[in-house]
């Protein structure tokens, strides 16, 4: 079990790592907007799966806060792209993110109880960490529009908060 999870994590890291690197030829603002929005949607869906599956109050409360925060930020993102007259553009990084999330969702769907809770919360910590890395090294430096850049910077602070929150919940589950 542990080996299987570790292998899956490595595969995802490889997949995403490869694609973040691929996208290193500077995504455009419409692509960045799409990637950031997709990253939020993925976490909302993961949270909804957790709310439906988990019986642990702390885990459910964590998941509810993920839905709340990411819906709020994605709404701000939509308002901003509308104001800037930018149409988010699908791209390989968004696709890789969605694909990895799909795989993860299927994997989590096989788990119940404490196993689910642990796997979900650990993945939340890892996922937010990964998105933070992408924001810091790729998305924020590449963003051209100052308002988009500023929203991404707030997003980074939020995701860093979520990563720490997830890590805290993970230690509580041990």
């Amino acid at each position: 079990m542990t080996i299987r999870l570790a292998t899956a994590a490595a595969a995802i890291a490889l997949l995403l790592g490869g694609n973040w690197a691929l996208a290193a030829d500077k995504p455009t603002d419409p692509q960045i907007a799409h990637i950031a929005y997709t990253a939020g949607v993925i976490d909302i869906e993961a949270a909804k799966q957790a709310i439906a599956t988990s019986k642990n109050k702390t885990v459910v409360e964590f998941a509810e806060s993920m839905v709340r925060d990411h819906e709020s930020v994605n709404k701000q993102a939509l308002d901003l792209v509308k104001k800037l007259n930018v149409t988010p553009e699908d791209n390989d990084t968004s696709k890789a993110l969605a694909q990895a999330a799909e795989t993860k969702r299927a994997e989590l769907a096989k788990l119940t109880g404490d196993d689910f809770d642990k796997a979900y919360v650990e993945n939340e910590a890892a996922y937010h960490k990964q998105v933070n890395g992408a924001l810091e090294t790729l998305l924020i430096p590449s963003a051209q529009n100052t308002e988009l850049k500023s929203l991404l910077e707030t997003g980074l602070k939020l995701f860093q908060g979520h990563q720490q929150h997830a890590e805290h919940v993970a230690t509580e589950l041990k």
């Binding site: 806060s65 910077e153 707030t154 602070k157 939020l158 908060g161 979520h162 720490q164 929150h165 805290h168």
Partner: protein, 107 residues
């Protein structure tokens, strides 16, 4: 209608002394939350003061003292905490633990 100058002088003296003896007025100290940052992060206060956090974000935050009080701060709302005991307190947001603040409360 007292026209007794001696009495008026006495009253002025008495009230003057009383004013000095009265402790400084309790204050409301405001902390703004904007883009996941408490500003100012450090607060100096005294017992009896109140802190008011003003949340300008579209996110739910808290001001949570570890093992102590918690103030829930809904989006675009504010919340208050009366300071009842002296001490030095670190606080964080429960939902975003990278948000950090500190309160020093003098007796």
């Amino acid at each position: 209608m007292s026209a007794n100058p001696a009495r008026r002088a006495f009253l002025a003296l008495f009230l003057g002394a009383a004013a000095i003896a009265v402790p400084a007025q309790a204050e409301t100290i405001q902390v703004t939350i904007d883009r996941l940052v408490y500003a100012p992060p450090e607060i100096q206060a005294k017992v009896g003061d109140e802190i008011e956090w003003i949340n300008k974000d579209a996110l739910v935050h808290t001001a949570t003292v570890q093992g102590g009080a918690e103030v829930l701060l809904p989006p675009k709302k504010s919340g208050r905490l009366p300071l009842q005991e002296p001490g030095s307190f670190d606080y964080i947001c429960r939902y975003h633990p990278n948000m950090k603040g500190h309160i020093t409360v003098r007796p």
